[in-house]
């Protein structure tokens, strides 16, 4: 049973990582990264690493995306349409 769960989560992680790379808009990428963070946390939990899962949840799905969003907001606010993140 647990093997099947691990396989599923692993494939989801791979898919989500691809999405995070392919998504070229940083604001949306931040969201994808936050989903990746949750998936990784889930993976770590099924791999019997609750400590790591907990910190991945705190860092990967909250802190890092938050910093990216703040960064995007600052750059957008500068109001030059050109760098509006393509």
């Amino acid at each position: 049973m647990s093997d099947a769960v691990i396989v599923v989560v692993l494939l989801l992680v791979a898919a989500c990582a691809t999405a995070a790379v392919v998504q070229r808009d940083p604001a949306r990428q931040a969201l994808v990264l936050s989903v990746l963070g949750v998936l990784l946390a889930a993976l770590f939990t099924v791999l019997q690493a609750p400590d790591v899962g907990l910190s991945q949840l705190a860092v990967g799905s909250a802190l890092t995306p938050l910093l990216i969003m703040l960064c995007v907001r600052k750059i957008r606010r500068r109001g030059r349409p050109k760098e509006d993140a393509r």
Binding site: L10, A20, R24, D25, F44, Q48, A49, T64, R78, A85
Partner: protein
Amino acid sequence: MHILPYLVAAYVFVTGCYGLATSRNLIHAVGCLAVCQSATYVLLLAVGYRDGATAPVFSDIAPGSRPVVDPVVQALTLTDIVVGATVTALLLALVLQIAKRHGTVDPDELRELRG
């Protein structure tokens, strides 16, 4: 199943590198670097996994009653996660300053250092 987790880690690493090399936006590039790093977490924890084992926390199981997974890689991964978060923060701070000084975050338009 035998080597799938390792392959996923390798795939995530190479994918992150691809994103980093082709990125058109420095914020996106920093995000890709975070993806590269998540490959190292997956690899480390996959290496330390043991079939049918439980987490190495003995507050609710008696020591020796069940096999536990390798605690060392988990500690390493914890360190690694902190490193990743701080590097991301520092690089984002630099990106912010690039946006201010160059007026762009597109690496194709940064043309000051060359030759």
